[in-house]
Symmetry: C2
C-alpha cells in the first residue's frame, strides 16, 4: 500500500533529497564538505530572511530551544512565555530546568495569544529579559501573529523576542531582520523537507551581544563556538553529514521556488484543506489557522479512533492524533513542506474512503470537490 | 575516481545501510517505528555487553559526553580526567563548563595512562566522584586499558568509572557489566558503521542511582526522561529517524558477525596496517596501539603534506592529519568499522603509489606484502 505522511514532523522528504543522502559519505573537515556547507549556510539565511549567521545544530528542535535559553540568559533571569499548547509549555519547562523565573501567559488551546496580553504581562514584569513565543503551535494548529506581538514588545520594553518557528519556517511569512526579531529556531523535519536530526537557530545582533553576558553553563549548545566555526564553514562538533548533504538539495528546491512562493503555496493548500473538511461537515478546531497544519474535530457520529485507524491502515494516510486533553477529540492534518495540489485532493480521496468505511454520512466527493474548488480559484 | 575513507569518523557506511536510510520516512510515534527501535535497543545492549538500557541521543559523541557530566554530577563536584590527547582534554573542558573541579592527569601524546597514575590521583583526591577515561584516544591512536584501571578505581575508591568509548566500541573488547564500568558513551559514525548524528550512553545501576542526586541543569540531555521513554520504545524528543533505521541494518550486520569476531577482526586489521607501515619504513607513533586507528610519523625524507595530498587527490584515499602539536608530523589511518582484508591491501596499494609519486624510497610491494603476510598468518 502506498504510504502518505500528513504529520507535522516528520514531513514528506523529496526523493532527490533521500537519494542525495544515500551517496558515499564525505569527511566534514575537508574542503569538499565546507563548500557544500557554505552554500547551505547562505540558503539558510535566505530562508530565515536574515543577514545574521544561521547556526546548524545536530539535535531535534528541542535542542535549539535549549540553545536559545542557555546562550541568552543567566540563573534567576525572568522570561515571559505563552502557553497555548505543548510547545509553548515546553518553553516554560526548559526555562525552569535552567533556573529562570518563567512567567506563564496561558491561553486556551485553539486560540492565539493577543498583543494586549503580552503588553499586560510586560507591564507587570518590566524586568523580563525576553518573551518566548510559538509562531505555529504544532499541538493545536494555531498561528500567532509574532510580527504584531514583536512590535508591542519593542515599543513597550527591552525584552528580546524569541520565536519557536519549528512548524512555521517555510510555511508562514517570516522576515527576521526586517521585523526585528531577536531569535528564531526551527527543525529540519518540517518546512525544510528533511528528515529529523538537524535544528537551526539565528540571533539578532542584540541577542549575540546579550549572549556574551550569559552565565548559564553550556558546551554542546554553545553558540559562540558554533559561530566561530562558521567563519571557516565548519561546525563545532561532528555534524550529521548525510543530513547536511540532503539539506543542500532541499534548500536548492526552496530557492528555486522562491520563499514568497513557498509561503503562498502553504496558505493556498491550507485554504483547500479547510474547505475540504468543511465540505465533509467536519468541524475545524481553533480560531487562528496555522499554514502548517489543520486541526479538525473528530466526527461524533462515528468511532473517531476507528476512522483514523482505517485512514492509516487501509488507506495509507498517517495524520497526527490530538494531544493531552484533546487526545481522541481532534486530529491534525499537516500540509507543511513538500506538498502540492494533487497531494491535497489525494488526501481527501482517502479521507472520504475511510469516512465511508466507518459509516459516516456525507455527500460523496464533497471533500475532494470543495478542496479542488479552492485550488482552482483565481 | 573511487573514494576510500580511512578516517576515524566518519567511517565507511555499508551500501545496505545507506539505502535503508533512503527508504520512505515513517513517523516516530507509530508502532512501526517502535518495533524497529525495540530491536535496535536490544542490539545496542549486545554491543555494549550490558543488561542496562542504552540511551540513543540525536547529537554527536560530544553531546553524549555532556550527557554523562550533566546527569551524574552537581556543581563543585570533583572529577579526575586523563588528558593524553584532544578527546581526553575535552572531558576537562566539559567538566569545567559545568563548574566541576576537574583534576587533570596529564600523559604525553602517544602514551597510555598507567593504573598507578590513577591510583595516585585518587589517593590525592579521595573525594573525587569519578574518573573520566578515553578508551581509544582518536587524536593519537592510543589504547588505554580501562579494565585494569577500573579494577584499581574500584579497589581504592568510590569513584565512578566513566569511559569515552567513541572510537573503541566495536573495535576493542568491552564488557560493560562484567567489568563493572559505570558509564560508557559512543557515537554512530565509528565502530557502528553509520553516518554521524546519533550518540549512545549507558549507565550502571550505581550511576543511575547517582543521577537522581545530580543538581546540574539539563533538559535535552536529561537521561531520566530518555530512560522513561525507552519503556515504550520511544525517544524523549524527535529522533533522527533515518539514522535509527540505518542503525537497525548496521546492528544486524554486527550481530550476524558476532561481537567477539568484530573485535578480533579489528585486532587483525590493526596488525596488518602496522606491518604494512613498517614494511615501508614508516615509523609508528605511540606505544599502546588502538585497534581503531594507527598513527604514523610522516616520512622526513619527502614532503609529508604533498604525500597526503597526493594520496587523497590522486589516489582517492582520505586519512586524518595530525592535530595540535602533531599537525604536519603524523597522519592517522583508521581501520574502524566496515573494513576487511582487501580494504587494507587496497590501502597500501594507494599508499605505495602516493609515496612513489613524491619520491620516497622503498621496495615496491613492501607495504602490500607485509600487510598481506600478516593477514595470511594462521
Amino acid at each position: 500500500m502506498k504510504q502518505r505522511l500528513f504529520t507535522p514532523g516528520p514531513t514528506p522528504v523529496p526523493e532527490s533529497v533521500m537519494l542525495r543522502m544515500a551517496q558515499p559519505l564525505i569527511h566534514h573537515r575537508n574542503p569538499e564538505f565546507q563548500e557544500i556547507f557554505a552554500r547551505v549556510n547562505e540558503s539558510l539565511k535566505y530562508v530565515f530572511q536574515t543577514a545574521q549567521p544561521v547556526i546548524t545544530l545536530t539535535s531535534s528542535g528541542t535542542g535549539a530551544m535549549e540553545a536559545a535559553i542557555v546562550n541568552l540568559f543567566s540563573p534567576g533571569d525572568t522570561v515571559i512565555y505563552i502557553n497555548g499548547g505543548k510547545f509553548g509549555e515546553r518553553w516554560g519547562k526548559i526555562s525552569r530546568a535552567y533556573n529562570l523565573e518563567a512567567i506563564e501567559v496561558k491561553v486556551p488551546w485553539g486560540t492565539a495569544a493577543q498583543p494586549e496580553q503580552i503588553e499586560e504581562a510586560l507591564k507587570q514584569r518590566p524586568t523580563a529579559k525576553a518573551v518566548l513565543l510559538t509562531h505555529s503551535e504544532t499541538s493545536t494548529g494555531v498561528f500567532t501573529n509574532i510580527k504584531r506581538i514583536n512590535d508591542i514588545i519593542k515599543s513597550s520594553s527591552n525584552a528580546l523576542t524569541i520565536v519557536d518557528g519549528i512548524t512555521s519556517v517555510g510555511a508562514h511569512e517570516m522576515r527576521f531582520d526586517e521585523w526585528g526579531l531577536d531569535c528564531i529556531i526551527t527543525g529540519s523535519q518540517k518546512g525544510l523537507m528533511m528528515p529529523p536530526g538537524l535544528a537551526f537557530i539565528t540571533l539578532s545582533e542584540r541577542a549575540w551581544a546579550m549572549s556574551a553576558e550569559s552565565k548559564l553553563p553550556k558546551f554542546y549548545f554553545n553558540l559562540a563556538i558554533a559561530k566561530k566555526s562558521l567563519l571557516t564553514n565548519d561546525t563545532a562538533w561532528t555534524p550529521a553529514i548525510t543530513l547536511v548533504l540532503g539539506l543542500d538539495t532541499a534548500l536548492d528546491m526552496l530557492r528555486a521556488e522562491g520563499i514568497e512562493n513557498v509561503w503562498a503555496r502553504h496558505e493556498r493548500l491550507t485554504r483547500a484543506v479547510r474547505a475540504g473538511c468543511e465540505g465533509l461537515g467536519l468541524k475545524l478546531f481553533g480560531n487562528s489557522p496555522s499554514h502548517a497544519l489543520t486541526s479538525v474535530w473528530l466526527p461524533e457520529a462515528v468511532d473517531g479512533k476507528k476512522f483514523l485507524d482505517t485512514l492509516k491502515k487501509i488507506y495509507g494516510v498517517t495524520t497526527a492524533a490530538g494531544q493531552d486533553d484533546y487526545k481522541g477529540k481532534i486530529f491534525r492534518i499537516s500540509h507543511l513542506g513538500y506538498y502540492d495540489d494533487a497531494d491535497i485532493t489525494g488526501l481527501f480521496t482517502c479521507v472520504e474512503l475511510a469516512l465511508g468505511a466507518v459509516g459516516y454520512s456525507f455527500s460523496q466527493g464533497a471533500g475532494v470537490g470543495a478542496a479542488q474548488k479552492e485550488l482552482m480559484r483565481k
